[in-house]
């Protein structure tokens, strides 16, 4: 992403801070800590608190996760889920797949913590396996890529789906949302979607010209 219009000057004009998507974690950390200490007139103690908190938060993100043992999903469900989420969000030229982004782990956590997810997720996986058995006499995970797609084709477009697929359609609507929620809220997903905020700007200049031009609006 070009950051020409997104660059923001520090108030004294001495240094610049990028707010583009290529902002590295270290830049981010530097911005979070240096900016208030150096340029914002408020109590030192407050600044130290703010900086300490920001640093602690950002370090937390660097810690890697060890090999994952699901708490909610059984072994077979876990395999099936990993296949399914990668069909929904596969790797492409811009970013990795749902499993690359840790979506199944996210789902396992959410299903454990939020009981409202447990029934529809489990029932839906079972429904999909049922369709696989009925059609191909094996479970979803053991089907070929073409067979899996043939099944998803029947439930992935609600307006075109047959009435008897209604349960599958409802499940897939929710599962697609759940997968996207996990993928795009991951670090990989945030970068992919082009969200470039959540940072300190020393000045708000409004939206950059390319964004205004795209909508045919301008500042008067």
């Amino acid at each position: 992403m070009k950051t020409e219009d997104g660059r923001s000057k520090m108030k004294d004009g001495r240094s610049k801070m990028k707010d583009g998507s290529d902002l590295s974690r270290r830049d981010m950390l530097k911005a979070a800590i240096v900016a208030p200490l150096a340029f914002i007139p408020f109590a030192d103690a407050d600044a130290a608190h703010a900086a300490h908190h920001a640093m602690a938060a950002l370090q937390g993100q660097a810690a890697g996760a060890p090999a994952y043992a699901p708490k909610f999903f059984h072994a077979d469900e876990w395999k099936q889920l990993r296949v399914l989420v990668n069909l929904i969000i596969p790797k492409d030229e811009r970013s990795g797949s749902a499993t690359d982004a840790g979506v199944p782990e996210f789902m396992d956590f959410i299903c454990t913590e939020y009981p409202g997810y447990q029934t529809w997720v489990r029932d839906g996986l079972r429904w999909l396996d049922g369709l696989a058995y009925d059609t191909y006499h094996k479970n979803f995970t053991n089907c070929s890529d073409a067979e899996r797609r043939a099944m998803l084709d029947q439930i992935a477009w609600p307006a075109k789906a047959k009435p008897e697929m209604r349960a599958g359609v409802q499940f897939f609507n929710s599962m697609r949302d759940f997968t996207a929620s996990g993928f795009f809220s991951s670090e990989m997903g945030v970068k992919d979607i082009g969200y470039i905020g959540n940072t300190w700007l020393m000045e708000w200049k409004g939206c950059p010209k390319p964004a205004l031009d795209h909508l045919g609006v301008r500042y008067t």
Binding site: H49, I193, W204, C207
Partner: protein, 563 residues
Amino acid sequence: MQSPKRLMYDVAIVGSGAGGGMVAHVLTKAGANVVMLEAGGPWDNAKDSAMLKWPYQSPRRGASTKERPFGEFDACIGGWELDGEPYTKAEGTKFDWWRARMLGGRTNHWGRISLRFGPDDFKAKGRDGLGDDWPISYDDMAPYYDKVDRLIGVFGSKEGLRNHPDGDFLPPPRPRCHELLVKDASDKLGVTCIPSRLSILTKPLHGRAACHYCGQCNRGCMVNANFTSPNVLIFPAMKTGKLTILTNAMAREVTTNAQGVATGVSYVDKHSGQDRHVQARIVVLAASACESARILLNSKSSVHPNGLANSSGVVGKYITDTTGTSVGGFIPKMMDQPAHNCDGVGGLHVYMPWWIDNKKLDFPRGYHIEVWGGRGVPSSGFMGGIHRYPKGGGYGKELKADYRHYYGTSIGFDGRGEMIPNEKSYCEIDPEKKDRYGIPVLRFHWEWSDHEINQVKHMQETFRALIAQMGGTVNNQMPSKERGYGISNGGSIIHEVGGVRMGDDSDSSALNANCQAHACKNLFVADGGPFVGQADKNPTWTILALAWRTSEGIARMMKEGAL
């Protein structure tokens, strides 16, 4: 009754939100010894805020928790349901009550929309015969709004709109690009659309930093660039050495002596579960409109058999909440936008104040419109319902590309309108139920009238017209009349006010024009409880200005020896 020490304070304040914070600020500066009771725990944005945290730094990705229904990073601890602190509803009543349990109360929660009530809003009955007039006018309040503007800071633009008075404004931030689209559509439809008015600093003020435009005011600002009661009122008040704060102190009742004069507040120390008492010459309730009404109704004695300040029977009556409904739409023009940072301040940069003469309409009073949209931080729930976009669903690489095309293409509107107080919307003490501390709880009654239902219909029509004007589509039908055209539940906009209303007539009001109880001269109320009407404006700025005015009155009466 057991107490840590038998100090006699000048003033005991119940509640640490906008009203309580302001009273503490003004009265400590005037030299009074003040004790403040807060039912929740301490909180300091400088240490406790989740500002700038990424959703992926939490396994929840920002999803809500029981004590944080607006998302795990939200600053406000509280919610629609609190463990051990129930409230009840009369049969058929839909009402939601949001309570904060933390220092600063709901000032940790709100959207910082900081609107003055206008001249018509204080004297609305004179115009259309509905509701009641306040015992004070805009002219009485204007000096206090001015002082609040200067102390706390609010951005906005001078517009000269008669019933939407200008303030002492900091410069407003430029609109985001989608807000310019909204502005264009509004202009074409004759809807007034102007810079919003939020208590977020666009320039440093009194040692507080200016906004850094991360758009996360709701998480609590580490650098105090927005208003919360602790940041701007309570912590400075503590520096006077005159303010004692008791957290986790759940007020039970205002105590009175044989003459019916208030002597202090009894409360439950939540840590020990023990009952305690603070003595004070003056008691100020600022526990939130309904909670203050509850305390008064529970403060029964032989002199005050119906509860304190309730000889008129009006306590708990005439509660209003802002009316609300929302419509969002898909705006094809917004597809494939160049990536850019449109976080801005933690709220809308433009809004639409009420713009129509009611003579042309089938409802009284009005509403304002709040705008949302843009490229928000992706977190739990991101772009839910992708199958409702034109592609209609799918999976795989094509779906992944669709998310990129469709990201940030929704624009929506929230209507926020004035409710006329009515006899059927009130709270009372539930005759049976008590909370875990043994304090009788509130039971709510709620009914919208056609005034509100017709107003919400108008909101729906307006929002749909705005979306159509932008070339967009709304993917749901307008809710039916039977469903109130999508009107929100009472209480759910979290603007509930009234219940301890002020007035010149002690037969129909609990407080006089100084927010002093008619029936108990050393008792005052300083939250939204005294409101006689609510306008379509978010109540906080008026709570602050009225609390300042009340506090000056208290200081004056103390000096004169009248209290």
